[in-house]
C-alpha cells in the first residue's frame, strides 16, 4: 500500500516536537476524521530556521509531516508558500489514492503557521 520512502519517514519521522517560543503555530485537520497536524515555526530574516510538528493520524499523515518539514527548513517564507500538498506527496514518491485528500495536509498546516506568524508580526508592528 505505502512505498518504502513513506514507510521510512513514518518509522523515523524527522523534526517531531514542539517549539515553545514558536513565531507561528498552524493547526489543520480534525481527529474525528482521523488526521490532525500542529506545526510550529521559528522565523529569522524571512527564513524558516526551525520547524517542528505533532501529528495524530495515519501513516501518510505522519510521513507527509516529516517530509514537508525537511523540504521547508531553511527556505524563505515565499519559497515555502510555493510548496503544495501535491509536491509533498510527489517528494514521497506518491501516496495511495485515498490518502491524497484526508492525510496530505502538511502544506496547509505549514501555511497556517506562516499566516499565524504574519498576524503576530503585524500585531507587533
Amino acid at each position: 500500500m505505502y512505498n518504502e520512502k513513506v514507510i521510512e519517514h513514518f518509522k523515523n519521522p524527522k523534526n517531531v516536537g514542539e517549539i515553545e517560543d514558536a513565531d507561528g503555530v498552524g493547526e489543520v485537520g480534525n481527529p474525528v476524521c482521523g488526521d490532525m497536524m500542529t506545526f510550529y515555526i521559528k522565523v529569522e530574516d524571512d527564513k524558516l530556521i526551525d520547524i517542528k510538528y505533532k501529528t495524530f493520524g495515519c501513516v501518510a499523515a505522519i510521513a507527509v509531516s516529516s517530509m514537508i518539514s525537511e523540504m521547508a527548513i531553511g527556505k524563505t517564507i515565499d519559497e515555502v508558500l510555493e510548496i503544495s500538498n501535491k509536491m509533498v506527496a510527489e517528494a514521497l514518491g506518491g501516496l495511495p489514492p485515498n490518502k491524497y485528500h484526508c492525510s496530505n495536509l502538511g502544506a496547509d498546516a505549514l501555511k497556517a503557521a506562516i499566516e499565524d506568524y504574519k498576524k503576530k508580526r503585524e500585531g507587533k508592528l
Partner: protein, 386 residues
Amino acid sequence: MERIYFDHAATTPVRKEVLEAMIPYFSDKFGNASSLYYEGVDASEAVEEARNSVVKLIGADESEIYFTSSGTESDNMAIKGVALALRDKGKHIIVSSIEHHAVLNAALSLRKLGYEITILPVDGKGFVNPDDVKKNIKNDTILVSIMLANNEIGTIEPIEEVSKITKERGVYLHTDAVQAVGNYPVNVDSLGCDLLSLSAHKFYGPKGVGAIYIRKGTRIMPLMDGGGHEKGKRSGTYNTPGIVGLGKASVLAISELESRINQTTKLRDKIIDGIISEIPYIILNGDREKRLPGNANFSIKYIEGESLILSLDAEGFAVSTGSACSSHSLKISHVLNAIGLDPVDAQGSLRVTVGLDNTEEEVDKFLEILPKVVLKLRRMSPLYKE
C-alpha cells in the same frame, strides 16, 4: 523477522490435518460429486461425510446443512432468500446495528427494493436488548437477524432470549455465527434459530467454503439457480476439497472445543489484564465476560489505528483496527460507532484476536512492545499531553 499472528478473527491458518484431508480431492479424487460413476460417488461420499461433521458440530440434522462459498454467501442467502420467499407475507426485516456488512448490506440492498429494514441499537457493550426485538416485531415482520458473536468487539448476543420472542411471534430468526462456530459452543436447538451462517476459515479450515443451517420447514428462495445441487437450494458444482476441509475442521473443533476455549481465554485475559495495567488512557471495548474467548479490543486514546497497526507490523505483529484511515470507506467502524464510542477514541481502536497457534511467550512479547509503540505515537500526537 519472527512473525506473531494475532488476527484470528480475520482468518486462521489451515490446520495440517485439514490440509492433508483436502489434498487428495484436488487431483487424485477430482470427480464431480454429482456424477453417477465411481469417481463421482467417491467425491459425493466425502461431501456427505463432511456434512455429517458440520451437523454434529452445531447439533443440526443432516437435511439442514447446505454448503456455500463463504460466510458472506450464507448471510446473503439467509437474508435475501427469506425475504424473497416470504415477500407475500411481509416485507419487514429486523437486524442489529453491529451486524457484519454481509448481513447489514444485504438488508440495505433489500431496502432499495422496497423492504422495510429496522436497525436495532445496541448498548455500550454491544448487546442487543431482546425487548427491542419484541417491540419492533410487527404483523409483516418476516425475519430477525442478530449475530451470535461480534467480529470486532467479541460481544456474545443473547440469541436464546431473542429466539423465544421470534418463536412466539412466528418470525424466522437468522444468526450469523461465523465468528463463533468452532471457537465457542454453538447448538442450533439451544439457540433456537431457524437459520445460521458459518465459515470454515474462521476455525482452521480453508477459505472459500461456508455453510448455512436451514431448519426443516423454513422457506427460503435460492440465490444460485442451476443444476439443483443441495436439494435445489444452492446450485453449483461441489467444492469437494473445500467441503472436505470444512468437515475436517469441524471434526477437530468437536473434539477440541473445550481445550480451545480454555487456551484462548487464558491468552486473551493475559492480554486484556496486561494492557490495562501497562497502558494508561485506554478503553476496553465490549463486555469483559460475555465475549469471544480469543477477542480483545481496546481504544487507545490520542493515537490513530493505522499508524498503530503498521508500527506493530514493523515489530512483527499482525493485529487489526477499526479506524477510519484503515478502512476502504474511510469511515470509522460501524460497530464502534454503534456502541457510542467517541469518534476520536474509535480512531485508536486495536483488535487482538488470539488462536490455537499462539503462546504465552508471544503474548509476553506483545505486552513488552505495545506500550513502547503506543508511547512513541502518543509523543508525536498533538492530542496527548504527558
